[in-house]
Amino acid sequence: MCEHAAMAQVSVPRARTTMDGAPRPRLERSRSDRVIGGVASGIGHHLGVEPTTVRVAFVLLSLAFGFGIVVYLLTWLLAPLEAAEPAANPVAQRVFRPTLSQALGAALILVGVVIVLFVSGFWFGEAFAWPVTLGAIGFAILWARSGEDRRGRSAVDVVISGRRSITRVAIGSLLILGAMTIFLANSYSLSTAGPMLLAALVAIGGLGLIGGPWIWSVGRDLIDERSSRIRTEERAEMAAHLHDSVLQTLALIQRAPAPREMASLARTQERELRAWLYGRAPTLAGARLRDAIDSMAGRAERDQQVKVEAIVVGDADLDERARALVAAVGEATLNAGRHSGATEVSVYVEVEDDAISAYVRDHGTGFEPEAVATDRRGIADSIVGRMERHGGTAQVNSRPGAGTEIVMRLPRKPA
Protein backbone atom coordinates (compact mmCIF):
# COMPACT_ATOMS: atom_id res chain seq x y z
CA MET A 1 0.00 0.00 0.00
CA CYS A 2 0.99 3.56 -0.34
CA GLU A 3 2.30 3.64 3.17
CA HIS A 4 5.08 1.40 1.97
CA ALA A 5 6.17 4.03 -0.42
CA ALA A 6 5.71 6.90 1.98
CA MET A 7 7.57 5.22 4.75
CA ALA A 8 10.39 3.96 2.65
CA GLN A 9 11.03 7.55 1.82
CA VAL A 10 11.83 8.35 5.41
CA SER A 11 15.44 7.39 4.86
CA VAL A 12 15.77 9.12 1.54
CA PRO A 13 17.15 12.62 1.92
CA ARG A 14 15.09 15.51 0.72
CA ALA A 15 16.37 16.10 -2.80
CA ARG A 16 17.46 19.63 -3.50
CA THR A 17 16.92 20.89 -6.96
CA THR A 18 19.23 22.40 -9.49
CA MET A 19 18.35 25.62 -11.19
CA ASP A 20 16.49 23.94 -14.01
CA GLY A 21 14.28 22.19 -11.47
CA ALA A 22 15.67 18.67 -11.88
CA PRO A 23 16.37 16.91 -8.58
CA ARG A 24 20.00 17.21 -7.57
CA PRO A 25 21.63 14.05 -6.17
CA ARG A 26 23.07 14.48 -2.73
CA LEU A 27 26.79 14.74 -2.16
CA GLU A 28 28.13 11.21 -1.78
CA ARG A 29 31.53 9.79 -2.46
CA SER A 30 31.43 7.54 -5.48
CA ARG A 31 32.02 3.85 -5.10
CA SER A 32 32.76 3.02 -8.67
CA ASP A 33 34.45 6.09 -10.14
CA ARG A 34 37.36 6.91 -7.87
CA VAL A 35 41.02 7.75 -8.03
CA ILE A 36 41.60 8.24 -4.31
CA GLY A 37 38.47 8.57 -2.26
CA GLY A 38 35.77 9.08 -4.85
CA VAL A 39 35.43 12.69 -3.68
CA ALA A 40 35.93 14.38 -7.03
CA SER A 41 33.41 12.30 -8.94
CA GLY A 42 31.00 12.64 -6.01
CA ILE A 43 31.21 16.41 -6.19
CA GLY A 44 31.00 16.30 -9.98
CA HIS A 45 27.88 14.16 -9.78
CA HIS A 46 26.35 16.48 -7.19
CA LEU A 47 27.03 19.63 -9.22
CA GLY A 48 26.49 18.08 -12.62
CA VAL A 49 30.10 18.65 -13.75
CA GLU A 50 32.60 16.23 -15.32
CA PRO A 51 34.61 14.51 -12.53
CA THR A 52 37.79 15.23 -14.48
CA THR A 53 37.10 18.97 -14.27
CA VAL A 54 36.71 18.66 -10.52
CA ARG A 55 39.96 16.69 -10.29
CA VAL A 56 41.89 19.32 -12.23
CA ALA A 57 40.37 21.99 -9.98
CA PHE A 58 41.55 20.10 -6.91
CA VAL A 59 45.11 19.84 -8.28
CA LEU A 60 45.16 23.55 -9.10
CA LEU A 61 43.78 24.44 -5.69
CA SER A 62 46.41 22.25 -4.06
CA LEU A 63 49.09 24.50 -5.53
CA ALA A 64 47.56 27.35 -3.55
CA PHE A 65 49.15 26.57 -0.17
CA GLY A 66 47.63 23.07 -0.17
CA PHE A 67 44.12 24.45 0.01
CA GLY A 68 42.80 21.79 -2.37
CA ILE A 69 44.25 18.99 -0.26
CA VAL A 70 42.57 20.31 2.87
CA VAL A 71 39.22 20.63 1.11
CA TYR A 72 39.62 17.17 -0.34
CA LEU A 73 40.38 15.58 3.01
CA LEU A 74 37.52 17.39 4.72
CA THR A 75 35.07 16.29 2.05
CA TRP A 76 36.36 12.75 2.34
CA LEU A 77 35.70 12.78 6.06
CA LEU A 78 32.30 14.43 5.98
CA ALA A 79 30.63 13.12 2.84
CA PRO A 80 29.09 9.66 3.21
CA LEU A 81 29.95 6.89 0.81
CA GLU A 82 27.16 6.26 -1.67
CA ALA A 83 24.97 3.27 -0.87
CA ALA A 84 25.92 0.10 -2.67
CA GLU A 85 23.46 -1.14 -5.22
CA PRO A 86 22.94 -4.69 -4.05
CA ALA A 87 24.34 -7.24 -6.49
CA ALA A 88 23.95 -4.83 -9.37
CA ASN A 89 27.63 -4.39 -9.92
CA PRO A 90 29.87 -6.58 -7.81
CA VAL A 91 33.01 -4.88 -9.12
CA ALA A 92 31.82 -1.46 -8.10
CA GLN A 93 30.80 -2.76 -4.69
CA ARG A 94 34.25 -4.08 -3.93
CA VAL A 95 36.21 -1.96 -1.53
CA PHE A 96 39.19 -0.30 -3.18
CA ARG A 97 42.26 -2.43 -2.57
CA PRO A 98 45.38 -1.47 -4.48
CA THR A 99 47.05 -4.24 -6.42
CA LEU A 100 50.72 -4.93 -5.81
CA SER A 101 51.84 -2.98 -8.85
CA GLN A 102 49.66 -0.02 -7.88
CA ALA A 103 51.13 0.00 -4.39
CA LEU A 104 54.63 -0.32 -5.80
CA GLY A 105 53.98 2.53 -8.19
CA ALA A 106 52.72 4.77 -5.41
CA ALA A 107 55.75 3.92 -3.27
CA LEU A 108 58.11 4.69 -6.16
CA ILE A 109 56.43 8.04 -6.77
CA LEU A 110 56.78 8.85 -3.09
CA VAL A 111 60.47 7.90 -3.10
CA GLY A 112 60.95 10.00 -6.21
CA VAL A 113 59.36 13.02 -4.56
CA VAL A 114 61.56 12.56 -1.50
CA ILE A 115 64.72 12.31 -3.65
CA VAL A 116 63.77 15.41 -5.61
CA LEU A 117 63.19 17.31 -2.38
CA PHE A 118 66.47 15.99 -0.98
CA VAL A 119 68.54 16.87 -4.04
CA SER A 120 66.99 20.26 -4.59
CA GLY A 121 67.84 21.27 -1.05
CA PHE A 122 64.27 21.40 0.19
CA TRP A 123 64.74 18.45 2.53
CA PHE A 124 63.45 19.38 5.93
CA GLY A 125 65.81 17.07 7.76
CA GLU A 126 65.13 13.95 9.73
CA ALA A 127 63.84 15.88 12.67
CA PHE A 128 60.86 16.78 10.56
CA ALA A 129 60.54 13.83 8.16
CA TRP A 130 60.14 11.02 10.69
CA PRO A 131 57.46 12.62 12.82
CA VAL A 132 55.55 13.56 9.68
CA THR A 133 55.78 9.98 8.37
CA LEU A 134 54.68 8.52 11.69
CA GLY A 135 51.88 11.06 11.98
CA ALA A 136 50.68 10.31 8.48
CA ILE A 137 50.55 6.57 9.19
CA GLY A 138 48.65 7.26 12.42
CA PHE A 139 46.23 9.50 10.58
CA ALA A 140 45.70 6.87 7.91
CA ILE A 141 45.01 4.17 10.51
CA LEU A 142 42.67 6.49 12.37
CA TRP A 143 40.50 7.22 9.37
CA ALA A 144 40.82 3.97 7.44
CA ARG A 145 37.65 1.99 7.90
CA SER A 146 36.71 -1.60 7.50
CA GLY A 147 34.78 -2.12 4.30
CA GLU A 148 31.65 -3.54 5.91
CA ASP A 149 30.25 -0.71 7.96
CA ARG A 150 30.90 2.34 5.86
CA ARG A 151 27.80 2.27 3.73
CA GLY A 152 26.20 5.67 3.52
CA ARG A 153 27.92 7.00 6.62
CA SER A 154 30.50 9.68 6.96
CA ALA A 155 33.88 8.96 8.52
CA VAL A 156 33.04 10.96 11.63
CA ASP A 157 29.97 8.79 12.18
CA VAL A 158 31.99 5.63 11.95
CA VAL A 159 34.75 6.67 14.32
CA ILE A 160 32.30 7.96 16.92
CA SER A 161 30.03 4.97 16.89
CA GLY A 162 31.92 1.91 15.70
CA ARG A 163 32.91 -0.30 18.56
CA ARG A 164 35.40 -2.15 16.41
CA SER A 165 37.22 1.09 15.69
CA ILE A 166 38.41 1.53 19.28
CA THR A 167 41.62 -0.42 18.66
CA ARG A 168 42.20 1.54 15.51
CA VAL A 169 41.65 4.84 17.26
CA ALA A 170 44.04 3.81 20.04
CA ILE A 171 46.83 2.75 17.67
CA GLY A 172 46.37 5.78 15.45
CA SER A 173 46.36 8.16 18.41
CA LEU A 174 49.48 6.52 19.85
CA LEU A 175 51.31 6.93 16.55
CA ILE A 176 50.34 10.57 16.28
CA LEU A 177 51.32 11.23 19.90
CA GLY A 178 54.62 9.45 19.25
CA ALA A 179 55.20 11.63 16.22
CA MET A 180 54.53 14.75 18.26
CA THR A 181 56.92 13.57 20.98
CA ILE A 182 59.70 12.84 18.48
CA PHE A 183 59.17 16.18 16.84
CA LEU A 184 59.33 17.98 20.16
CA ALA A 185 62.29 15.96 21.40
CA ASN A 186 64.20 16.64 18.20
CA SER A 187 63.43 20.32 18.09
CA TYR A 188 64.33 21.03 21.66
CA SER A 189 67.00 19.53 23.85
CA LEU A 190 66.02 16.69 26.12
CA SER A 191 66.38 18.90 29.18
CA THR A 192 63.46 20.99 28.05
CA ALA A 193 61.40 17.93 27.07
CA GLY A 194 59.95 17.56 30.57
CA PRO A 195 58.54 21.09 30.86
CA MET A 196 57.43 20.92 27.21
CA LEU A 197 55.51 17.73 27.85
CA LEU A 198 53.96 19.22 30.96
CA ALA A 199 52.95 22.34 29.06
CA ALA A 200 51.43 20.20 26.31
CA LEU A 201 49.52 18.08 28.82
CA VAL A 202 48.19 21.17 30.57
CA ALA A 203 47.13 22.62 27.24
CA ILE A 204 45.41 19.39 26.18
CA GLY A 205 43.77 19.04 29.58
CA GLY A 206 42.50 22.59 29.42
CA LEU A 207 41.11 22.13 25.94
CA GLY A 208 39.49 18.89 27.09
CA LEU A 209 37.83 20.64 30.01
CA ILE A 210 36.55 23.39 27.76
CA GLY A 211 35.45 21.36 24.78
CA GLY A 212 34.91 17.95 26.42
CA PRO A 213 31.32 18.37 27.57
CA TRP A 214 30.37 19.78 24.23
CA ILE A 215 32.03 16.96 22.26
CA TRP A 216 30.48 14.43 24.63
CA SER A 217 26.98 15.86 24.20
CA VAL A 218 27.35 16.03 20.42
CA GLY A 219 28.38 12.38 20.40
CA ARG A 220 25.48 11.52 22.71
CA ASP A 221 23.01 13.38 20.49
CA LEU A 222 24.30 11.59 17.41
CA ILE A 223 23.85 8.21 19.06
CA ASP A 224 20.41 9.09 20.45
CA GLU A 225 19.31 10.45 17.12
CA ARG A 226 20.46 7.35 15.31
CA SER A 227 18.76 4.92 17.67
CA SER A 228 15.50 6.85 17.65
CA ARG A 229 15.62 6.95 13.86
CA ILE A 230 16.09 3.19 13.76
CA ARG A 231 13.15 2.71 16.12
CA THR A 232 10.93 4.97 14.03
CA GLU A 233 11.84 3.16 10.86
CA GLU A 234 11.17 -0.23 12.42
CA ARG A 235 7.80 0.95 13.62
CA ALA A 236 6.97 2.44 10.23
CA GLU A 237 7.81 -0.82 8.56
CA MET A 238 5.69 -2.77 10.99
CA ALA A 239 2.84 -0.29 10.58
CA ALA A 240 2.91 -0.76 6.82
CA HIS A 241 2.87 -4.51 7.23
CA LEU A 242 0.07 -4.61 9.78
CA HIS A 243 -1.94 -2.08 7.85
CA ASP A 244 -1.95 -4.49 4.93
CA SER A 245 -2.91 -7.49 7.00
CA VAL A 246 -4.40 -7.28 10.46
CA LEU A 247 -6.16 -3.92 10.18
CA GLN A 248 -7.89 -5.02 6.99
CA THR A 249 -9.02 -8.26 8.60
CA LEU A 250 -10.39 -6.46 11.62
CA ALA A 251 -12.29 -4.08 9.34
CA LEU A 252 -13.74 -7.06 7.47
CA ILE A 253 -14.87 -8.82 10.64
CA GLN A 254 -16.76 -5.71 11.69
CA ARG A 255 -18.61 -5.66 8.37
CA ALA A 256 -19.57 -9.30 8.45
CA PRO A 257 -22.89 -10.22 10.07
CA ALA A 258 -20.94 -11.53 13.02
CA PRO A 259 -22.25 -11.69 16.57
CA ARG A 260 -22.14 -8.32 18.27
CA GLU A 261 -19.48 -9.43 20.76
CA MET A 262 -17.16 -10.49 17.97
CA ALA A 263 -17.52 -7.23 16.10
CA SER A 264 -16.96 -5.35 19.33
CA LEU A 265 -13.82 -7.34 20.05
CA ALA A 266 -12.50 -6.65 16.57
CA ARG A 267 -13.24 -2.94 17.00
CA THR A 268 -11.47 -2.77 20.35
CA GLN A 269 -8.39 -4.54 19.06
CA GLU A 270 -8.32 -2.40 15.96
CA ARG A 271 -8.43 0.70 18.14
CA GLU A 272 -5.63 -0.55 20.39
CA LEU A 273 -3.45 -1.60 17.48
CA ARG A 274 -4.06 1.68 15.70
CA ALA A 275 -3.24 3.68 18.81
CA TRP A 276 0.05 1.87 19.07
CA LEU A 277 0.91 2.09 15.37
CA TYR A 278 -0.06 5.67 14.67
CA GLY A 279 -0.02 6.94 18.23
CA ARG A 280 1.65 10.14 19.19
CA ALA A 281 4.79 9.74 21.21
CA PRO A 282 4.01 10.21 24.91
CA THR A 283 4.91 13.72 25.97
CA LEU A 284 7.11 14.46 28.95
CA ALA A 285 4.43 16.63 30.49
CA GLY A 286 2.27 13.55 30.99
CA ALA A 287 -1.01 12.32 29.56
CA ARG A 288 -3.08 14.54 27.31
CA LEU A 289 -6.82 15.01 27.15
CA ARG A 290 -7.01 13.49 23.66
CA ASP A 291 -5.39 10.22 24.75
CA ALA A 292 -7.62 10.01 27.81
CA ILE A 293 -10.77 10.43 25.71
CA ASP A 294 -9.54 7.84 23.21
CA SER A 295 -8.84 5.23 25.87
CA MET A 296 -12.16 6.02 27.56
CA ALA A 297 -13.90 5.36 24.25
CA GLY A 298 -12.00 2.08 23.90
CA ARG A 299 -13.12 0.93 27.36
CA ALA A 300 -16.73 1.88 26.69
CA GLU A 301 -16.69 -0.05 23.40
CA ARG A 302 -15.36 -3.13 25.16
CA ASP A 303 -17.76 -2.96 28.08
CA GLN A 304 -20.94 -1.90 26.33
CA GLN A 305 -20.44 -3.42 22.90
CA VAL A 306 -21.44 -0.26 21.11
CA LYS A 307 -19.40 1.63 18.57
CA VAL A 308 -18.00 4.82 20.06
CA GLU A 309 -16.89 7.49 17.61
CA ALA A 310 -14.69 9.81 19.65
CA ILE A 311 -13.54 13.03 18.04
CA VAL A 312 -11.32 15.53 19.80
CA VAL A 313 -10.48 18.94 18.39
CA GLY A 314 -7.51 20.60 20.04
CA ASP A 315 -5.77 19.18 23.07
CA ALA A 316 -5.04 20.11 26.68
CA ASP A 317 -3.05 18.89 29.64
CA LEU A 318 -4.84 16.31 31.69
CA ASP A 319 -5.08 18.11 35.01
CA GLU A 320 -7.47 17.20 37.81
CA ARG A 321 -10.38 19.14 36.32
CA ALA A 322 -9.83 17.71 32.85
CA ARG A 323 -9.80 14.26 34.45
CA ALA A 324 -13.16 15.02 36.00
CA LEU A 325 -14.48 15.99 32.57
CA VAL A 326 -13.19 12.75 31.06
CA ALA A 327 -14.87 10.79 33.86
CA ALA A 328 -18.17 12.60 33.25
CA VAL A 329 -17.91 12.00 29.50
CA GLY A 330 -17.17 8.34 30.23
CA GLU A 331 -20.24 8.05 32.43
CA ALA A 332 -22.40 9.70 29.77
CA THR A 333 -21.04 7.28 27.16
CA LEU A 334 -21.73 4.27 29.38
CA ASN A 335 -25.24 5.55 30.01
CA ALA A 336 -25.88 5.90 26.31
CA GLY A 337 -24.55 2.42 25.61
CA ARG A 338 -26.53 0.87 28.46
CA HIS A 339 -29.94 2.55 28.14
CA SER A 340 -30.40 4.05 24.68
CA GLY A 341 -30.40 0.88 22.60
CA ALA A 342 -28.35 2.68 19.96
CA THR A 343 -25.47 0.86 18.29
CA GLU A 344 -23.32 3.93 18.01
CA VAL A 345 -22.43 6.74 20.40
CA SER A 346 -20.81 9.96 19.20
CA VAL A 347 -18.40 11.70 21.54
CA TYR A 348 -17.16 15.14 20.56
CA VAL A 349 -14.74 17.16 22.68
CA GLU A 350 -13.50 20.59 21.67
CA VAL A 351 -10.80 22.53 23.49
CA GLU A 352 -11.30 26.26 23.14
CA ASP A 353 -9.36 29.12 24.64
CA ASP A 354 -11.71 29.70 27.53
CA ALA A 355 -13.43 26.34 27.99
CA ILE A 356 -13.58 22.68 27.06
CA SER A 357 -16.91 21.52 25.63
CA ALA A 358 -17.95 17.90 25.43
CA TYR A 359 -20.96 16.35 23.71
CA VAL A 360 -22.14 12.75 24.04
CA ARG A 361 -24.85 11.92 21.56
CA ASP A 362 -26.81 8.82 20.63
CA HIS A 363 -29.66 8.18 18.22
CA GLY A 364 -31.38 5.81 20.62
CA THR A 365 -34.75 5.74 22.31
CA GLY A 366 -34.35 8.92 24.35
CA PHE A 367 -36.26 9.67 27.53
CA GLU A 368 -38.08 12.38 29.44
CA PRO A 369 -35.34 14.00 31.57
CA GLU A 370 -37.85 15.22 34.22
CA ALA A 371 -39.57 11.88 34.57
CA VAL A 372 -36.55 9.70 35.23
CA ALA A 373 -34.32 12.18 36.98
CA THR A 374 -34.75 10.46 40.33
CA ASP A 375 -33.74 6.93 39.42
CA ARG A 376 -31.00 7.88 37.01
CA ARG A 377 -28.44 8.44 39.73
CA GLY A 378 -25.68 8.13 37.15
CA ILE A 379 -26.68 11.28 35.39
CA ALA A 380 -27.43 13.27 38.54
CA ASP A 381 -24.28 12.39 40.50
CA SER A 382 -21.63 11.25 38.09
CA ILE A 383 -22.31 13.77 35.37
CA VAL A 384 -24.16 16.87 36.55
CA GLY A 385 -22.84 16.75 40.13
CA ARG A 386 -19.26 16.06 39.07
CA MET A 387 -19.24 18.88 36.53
CA GLU A 388 -20.68 21.36 39.00
CA ARG A 389 -18.17 20.42 41.70
CA HIS A 390 -15.43 21.39 39.26
CA GLY A 391 -17.01 24.67 38.23
CA GLY A 392 -18.57 23.39 35.04
CA THR A 393 -22.06 22.65 33.76
CA ALA A 394 -23.88 19.67 32.31
CA GLN A 395 -27.15 19.64 30.48
CA VAL A 396 -29.24 16.70 29.31
CA ASN A 397 -31.18 17.13 26.08
CA SER A 398 -33.45 14.20 25.37
CA ARG A 399 -36.87 13.48 23.99
CA PRO A 400 -38.48 10.06 23.71
CA GLY A 401 -37.75 8.78 20.21
CA ALA A 402 -35.26 11.47 19.32
CA GLY A 403 -32.12 10.26 21.05
CA THR A 404 -30.13 11.92 23.77
CA GLU A 405 -27.37 14.43 23.94
CA ILE A 406 -25.49 15.36 27.09
CA VAL A 407 -23.63 18.65 26.82
CA MET A 408 -20.83 19.36 29.28
CA ARG A 409 -18.79 22.51 29.58
CA LEU A 410 -15.76 23.15 31.73
CA PRO A 411 -14.17 26.65 31.91
CA ARG A 412 -10.40 26.47 31.56
CA LYS A 413 -9.84 28.70 34.60
CA PRO A 414 -11.84 27.91 37.76
CA ALA A 415 -14.68 30.40 38.12
Binding site: C2, E3, A5, R255, V313, Y348, E350
Partner: protein
Protein backbone atom coordinates in the same frame (compact mmCIF):
# COMPACT_ATOMS: atom_id res chain seq x y z
CA UNK B 1 -26.99 9.86 7.50
CA UNK B 2 -29.71 7.27 7.36
CA UNK B 3 -30.25 5.23 4.25
CA UNK B 4 -33.95 5.91 4.29
CA UNK B 5 -33.43 9.52 3.28
CA UNK B 6 -32.48 8.51 -0.25
CA UNK B 7 -32.25 5.35 -2.29
CA UNK B 8 -29.23 4.91 -4.48
CA UNK B 9 -31.15 3.00 -7.12
CA UNK B 10 -29.36 2.67 -10.39
CA UNK B 11 -26.20 4.55 -9.51
CA UNK B 12 -23.28 2.87 -11.26
CA UNK B 13 -20.40 2.16 -8.92
CA UNK B 14 -16.81 1.05 -9.47
CA UNK B 15 -14.92 -0.44 -6.51
CA UNK B 16 -11.15 0.04 -6.15
CA UNK B 17 -9.42 -1.78 -3.30
CA UNK B 18 -6.35 -3.99 -3.30
CA UNK B 19 -8.03 -6.42 -0.92
CA UNK B 20 -9.99 -9.01 -2.87
CA UNK B 21 -12.12 -9.99 0.12
CA UNK B 22 -13.06 -6.45 0.90
CA UNK B 23 -13.99 -5.78 -2.73
CA UNK B 24 -16.30 -8.75 -2.93
CA UNK B 25 -17.84 -7.82 0.42
CA UNK B 26 -18.62 -4.29 -0.72
CA UNK B 27 -19.88 -5.58 -4.08
CA UNK B 28 -22.42 -7.87 -2.49
CA UNK B 29 -23.57 -5.19 -0.06
CA UNK B 30 -24.05 -2.57 -2.74
CA UNK B 31 -25.42 -4.82 -5.49
CA UNK B 32 -28.88 -4.71 -3.93
CA UNK B 33 -29.24 -0.98 -4.48
CA UNK B 34 -26.52 0.07 -6.92
CA UNK B 35 -25.24 -1.13 -10.26
CA UNK B 36 -21.68 -2.41 -9.83
CA UNK B 37 -19.92 -1.85 -13.15
CA UNK B 38 -16.50 -3.17 -12.21
CA UNK B 39 -13.73 -3.42 -9.69
CA UNK B 40 -9.96 -3.32 -9.63
CA UNK B 41 -7.10 -4.10 -7.29
CA UNK B 42 -4.30 -2.00 -8.72
CA UNK B 43 -3.92 1.61 -9.77
CA UNK B 44 -3.29 0.65 -13.39
CA UNK B 45 -6.32 -1.66 -13.67
CA UNK B 46 -8.44 0.89 -11.86
CA UNK B 47 -7.62 3.74 -14.24
CA UNK B 48 -8.22 1.57 -17.31
CA UNK B 49 -11.39 0.03 -15.84
CA UNK B 50 -12.92 3.33 -14.75
CA UNK B 51 -12.26 4.95 -18.12
CA UNK B 52 -13.88 1.97 -19.85
CA UNK B 53 -16.88 1.49 -17.53
CA UNK B 54 -17.53 5.21 -16.98
CA UNK B 55 -19.19 4.84 -13.55
CA UNK B 56 -21.07 7.54 -11.65
CA UNK B 57 -19.18 6.94 -8.41
CA UNK B 58 -15.83 5.31 -7.63
CA UNK B 59 -15.33 3.81 -4.18
CA UNK B 60 -11.64 4.32 -3.67
CA UNK B 61 -9.20 2.80 -1.19
CA UNK B 62 -6.71 5.41 -0.01
CA UNK B 63 -3.79 3.01 0.36
CA UNK B 64 -2.69 1.03 -2.63
CA UNK B 65 0.69 0.08 -4.03
CA UNK B 66 2.13 2.29 -6.75
CA UNK B 67 0.42 5.63 -6.36
CA UNK B 68 -2.44 5.00 -3.93
CA UNK B 69 -5.85 6.58 -4.23
CA UNK B 70 -4.33 9.77 -5.51
CA UNK B 71 -2.73 7.90 -8.41
CA UNK B 72 -6.15 6.65 -9.46
CA UNK B 73 -7.76 10.08 -9.23
CA UNK B 74 -4.96 11.73 -11.22
CA UNK B 75 -4.94 8.99 -13.87
CA UNK B 76 -8.69 9.06 -14.35
CA UNK B 77 -8.89 12.87 -14.41
CA UNK B 78 -6.16 12.93 -17.07
CA UNK B 79 -8.44 10.80 -19.24
CA UNK B 80 -11.25 13.29 -18.81
CA UNK B 81 -13.63 11.05 -16.85
CA UNK B 82 -16.46 12.71 -14.93
CA UNK B 83 -16.66 10.03 -12.24
CA UNK B 84 -16.95 11.21 -8.62
CA UNK B 85 -14.73 9.70 -5.95
CA UNK B 86 -15.66 8.58 -2.47
CA UNK B 87 -12.66 7.57 -0.38
CA UNK B 88 -12.93 4.48 1.80
CA UNK B 89 -10.12 3.51 4.14
CA UNK B 90 -9.22 1.71 7.34
CA UNK B 91 -6.90 4.56 8.14
CA UNK B 92 -8.19 7.46 10.16
CA UNK B 93 -4.97 9.43 10.21
CA UNK B 94 -5.49 13.14 9.54
CA UNK B 95 -2.93 13.25 6.73
CA UNK B 96 -4.73 10.45 4.85
CA UNK B 97 -8.11 12.09 5.14
CA UNK B 98 -6.94 15.59 4.28
CA UNK B 99 -4.64 14.28 1.55
CA UNK B 100 -7.26 12.32 -0.38
CA UNK B 101 -9.76 15.18 -0.17
CA UNK B 102 -7.15 17.58 -1.50
CA UNK B 103 -6.49 15.11 -4.31
CA UNK B 104 -10.11 15.53 -5.37
CA UNK B 105 -12.30 13.02 -3.52
CA UNK B 106 -15.81 14.26 -2.68
CA UNK B 107 -15.99 12.56 0.67
CA UNK B 108 -14.38 10.20 3.12
CA UNK B 109 -15.79 7.29 5.08
CA UNK B 110 -14.04 4.62 7.14
CA UNK B 111 -14.37 0.94 6.32
CA UNK B 112 -16.36 0.31 9.49
CA UNK B 113 -19.30 2.23 8.02
CA UNK B 114 -22.55 0.25 7.87
CA UNK B 115 -23.91 -0.95 4.53
CA UNK B 116 -26.88 1.42 4.71
CA UNK B 117 -24.69 4.39 5.46
CA UNK B 118 -22.39 3.46 2.61
CA UNK B 119 -25.29 3.38 0.16
CA UNK B 120 -26.47 6.76 1.41
CA UNK B 121 -22.96 8.18 1.03
CA UNK B 122 -22.69 6.87 -2.54
CA UNK B 123 -26.00 8.50 -3.40
CA UNK B 124 -24.96 11.77 -1.82
CA UNK B 125 -21.71 11.89 -3.81
CA UNK B 126 -23.63 11.01 -6.97
CA UNK B 127 -25.97 13.94 -6.33
CA UNK B 128 -22.97 16.26 -6.34
CA UNK B 129 -22.94 16.67 -2.58
CA UNK B 130 -20.07 15.95 -0.28
CA UNK B 131 -19.87 13.34 2.45
CA UNK B 132 -18.59 14.74 5.70
CA UNK B 133 -18.18 12.02 8.29
CA UNK B 134 -17.91 13.19 11.92
CA UNK B 135 -14.22 12.35 11.83
CA UNK B 136 -13.54 14.42 8.74
CA UNK B 137 -15.44 17.32 10.34
CA UNK B 138 -13.20 16.97 13.41
CA UNK B 139 -10.03 17.08 11.32
CA UNK B 140 -11.22 20.15 9.45
CA UNK B 141 -12.09 21.96 12.69
CA UNK B 142 -8.65 21.07 13.99
CA UNK B 143 -6.93 22.29 10.82
CA UNK B 144 -8.85 25.56 10.78
CA UNK B 145 -8.76 26.03 14.54
CA UNK B 146 -5.86 28.43 14.97
CA UNK B 147 -6.74 31.98 14.01
CA UNK B 148 -3.32 33.23 14.97
CA UNK B 149 -1.42 32.73 11.73
CA UNK B 150 -1.97 35.29 9.01
CA UNK B 151 -4.40 34.03 6.40
CA UNK B 152 -3.03 34.67 2.91
CA UNK B 153 -6.46 34.42 1.37
CA UNK B 154 -9.25 34.92 3.96
CA UNK B 155 -11.79 33.63 1.46
CA UNK B 156 -10.12 30.22 1.53
CA UNK B 157 -8.14 30.14 4.74
CA UNK B 158 -10.91 30.85 7.25
CA UNK B 159 -14.24 29.19 7.98
CA UNK B 160 -17.30 31.35 8.44
CA UNK B 161 -19.13 31.17 11.77
CA UNK B 162 -21.99 29.30 10.10
CA UNK B 163 -19.68 26.74 8.49
CA UNK B 164 -17.93 26.19 11.80
CA UNK B 165 -21.27 25.68 13.53
CA UNK B 166 -22.37 23.20 10.89
CA UNK B 167 -19.14 21.20 11.18
CA UNK B 168 -19.47 21.12 14.96
CA UNK B 169 -22.89 19.55 14.71
CA UNK B 170 -21.63 16.97 12.21
CA UNK B 171 -18.71 16.14 14.48
CA UNK B 172 -21.22 15.68 17.31
CA UNK B 173 -22.94 12.96 15.28
CA UNK B 174 -25.85 14.96 13.85
CA UNK B 175 -27.23 14.07 10.44
CA UNK B 176 -27.59 16.85 7.84
CA UNK B 177 -31.31 16.88 8.52
CA UNK B 178 -30.81 17.27 12.26
CA UNK B 179 -28.25 20.03 11.69
CA UNK B 180 -30.76 21.83 9.47
CA UNK B 181 -33.48 21.73 12.11
CA UNK B 182 -31.09 22.79 14.91
CA UNK B 183 -29.89 25.80 12.91
CA UNK B 184 -33.33 26.55 11.45
CA UNK B 185 -32.07 26.29 7.89
CA UNK B 186 -32.85 23.93 5.02
CA UNK B 187 -30.97 20.71 4.33
CA UNK B 188 -29.90 22.29 1.05
CA UNK B 189 -28.22 25.13 2.97
CA UNK B 190 -26.39 22.60 5.14
CA UNK B 191 -25.14 20.95 1.96
CA UNK B 192 -24.04 24.33 0.62
CA UNK B 193 -22.06 24.94 3.80
CA UNK B 194 -20.23 21.60 3.71
CA UNK B 195 -19.54 21.96 -0.02
CA UNK B 196 -17.98 25.35 0.68
CA UNK B 197 -15.86 23.78 3.42
CA UNK B 198 -14.73 21.02 1.06
CA UNK B 199 -13.70 23.62 -1.48
CA UNK B 200 -11.66 25.48 1.13
CA UNK B 201 -10.12 22.19 2.19
CA UNK B 202 -9.01 21.53 -1.37
CA UNK B 203 -7.82 24.99 -2.33
CA UNK B 204 -6.59 26.63 0.86
CA UNK B 205 -2.88 26.97 1.45
CA UNK B 206 -3.21 26.99 5.19
CA UNK B 207 -0.08 25.75 6.85
CA UNK B 208 -1.77 22.80 8.57
CA UNK B 209 -3.30 21.51 5.35
CA UNK B 210 -0.15 21.74 3.26
CA UNK B 211 1.86 20.21 6.07
CA UNK B 212 -0.45 17.22 6.35
CA UNK B 213 -0.49 16.73 2.64
CA UNK B 214 3.25 17.07 2.25
CA UNK B 215 3.84 14.60 5.08
CA UNK B 216 2.40 12.02 2.73
CA UNK B 217 3.97 13.68 -0.31
CA UNK B 218 0.57 14.37 -1.71
CA UNK B 219 1.32 17.84 -3.03
Amino acid sequence: MTASTRAAAGVSVFVVDDHELFRSGVRSELSRTCRIVGDAGTVEQAVAGIVRADPDVVLLDVHMPAGGGRGVIDGVRAEGSRAQFLALSVSDAAEDVIGIIRAGARGYVTKSISADELVAAVQRVHDGDVVFSPRLAGFVLDAFASEADQPIDPELDLLTARERETLRFIARGYTYKEVASELHISVKTVETHVSAVLRKLQLSNRYELTRWASDRRLV
